[in-house]
């Protein structure tokens, strides 16, 4: 569903080339907001699979020093959707993650973290559906222990099987525009390309590919993995990503709650800049003050 409206930001520039914007306008879910892309608060809503989210920041729940810090960080981030993993019941576990997240009032996006095969990922997704009563799944199929990069063939296979079974699939993928397109072709409702390896904090290593993915697909693009600090999140949004997922960048920061606040602002600022439409990059200066009326001395 390509936008027929001209919204500010469609002539946005990455590098030297204008990017064609394939963003869905959210016409169905956002009503009149779709005309301008901006709501009353001056911010535009994100719609994934018909679900409107006013925050464009998704959080991972892993790596926080305590459940309390996690809860405080989620609140500071104003995120509405956080990922959770499924693991064996630990009889010694202190506090219930599900209860804490319910108190915060945030939506759960279960993931298939740790799965190495399509088979395991599909089974984990089915268990997650049972545990959390949601069809939504952040699909991860890891192909390498050191880099935690996705296993593309297994990922695609799992995505196809899960969408066939009625799941709402958000796959964690490489920054490969062709794979992103294939994932959408089999029914994924969004794509979550990595900026750099999980937990590396290396930011967006190939911004051109991220912009190409934004062009290649019509579903929301959620930059996932590699975010190190706020400027990385802002860059993702300036490149046209529809949302950013941050986990370690927040949970392992020296002050996670403060960083959550920083990420919230960065995502909002990046989105605003994207919709405002940046100036093109030029090699030579362009004067911002006209020469006309310049005084002549001597």
């Amino acid at each position: 569903m390509k936008s027929v409206e001209h919204v500010p930001g469609e002539d946005n520039l990455v590098g030297e080339e204008p990017i064609r914007d394939g963003r869905p306008t959210g016409e169905d879910a956002c009503g009149e907001h779709a005309l301008t892309g901006v709501d009353q608060r001056g911010e535009d809503a994100l719609t994934i699979a018909g679900r409107a989210l006013s925050s464009r920041l998704l959080l991972g729940t892993g790596g926080f020093p305590s459940l309390q810090v996690m809860a405080d960080a989620i609140q500071a981030s104003e995120s509405e959707l956080v990922t959770v993993a499924l693991r064996r019941v630990d009889p010694n576990a202190r506090g219930s993650l599900v209860d804490v997240l319910a108190q915060v009032g945030v939506g759960l996006l279960p993931n298939t973290a740790g799965c190495r095969t399509a088979r395991d990922a599909v089974l984990t997704a089915k268990l997650a559906r049972e545990a959390f009563a949601t069809d939504w799944i952040k699909l991860e199929v890891i192909g390498d222990e050191d880099t935690l990069l996705p296993d593309a063939p297994e990922l695609l296979r799992a995505a196809e099987e899960l969408t066939d079974e009625g799941f709402v699939v958000l796959p964690y993928t490489t920054d490969d525009p062709v794979l992103a397109k294939r994932l959408v072709d089999v029914g994924c409702v969004a794509v979550m390309p990595l900026g750099s390896p999980i937990g590396s904090g290396m930011g967006i290593r190939n911004p051109y590919n991220i912009a190409l993915i934004r062009e290649a697909v019509t579903v929301p693009v959620v930059l996932d993995a590699g975010i190190g600090t706020a400027s990385d999140a802002a860059l993702a949004m300036e490149l046209g990503c529809d949302a950013v997922m941050a986990a370690s960048a927040i949970s392992r920061a020296q002050d996670p709650v403060r960083m959550a606040d920083a990420m919230r602002r960065a995502v909002a600022a990046g989105r605003l800049a994207y919709t405002a439409g940046r100036i093109p990059r030029r090699t030579y200066a362009t004067p911002s003050t006209p020469d006309e009326g310049l005084a002549r001395f001597g």
Binding site: G62, V84, L86, R87, L97, V98
Partner: protein, 66 residues
């Protein structure tokens, strides 16, 4: 019987609901899922499904991650 990767004293024929109770989980526990021999066992079956003596059971719950 193997429960969460460890040999278990669970007697054959015990229902999943009883097993969960012995593990300290409420029958209506939120965020819990059970797989038996690599297949999901829906919540609706927990009260009735009798675990075979050689069952491999996974009892999973939400954990911080992602």
């Amino acid at each position: 019987m193997i429960v969460n990767g460890r040999p278990s004293e669970t007697p054959p024929g015990e229902t999943v609901a009883v097993l969960l109770r012995r593990m300290g989980l409420a029958p209506d526990a939120k965020g819990v899922a059970v797989a038996v021999d690599g297949e999901v066992l829906p919540r609706a079956c927990w009260d009735e499904f009798a675990l075979p003596g050689d069952a491999r059971v996974e009892v999973l719950t939400a954990m911080q991650g992602g």
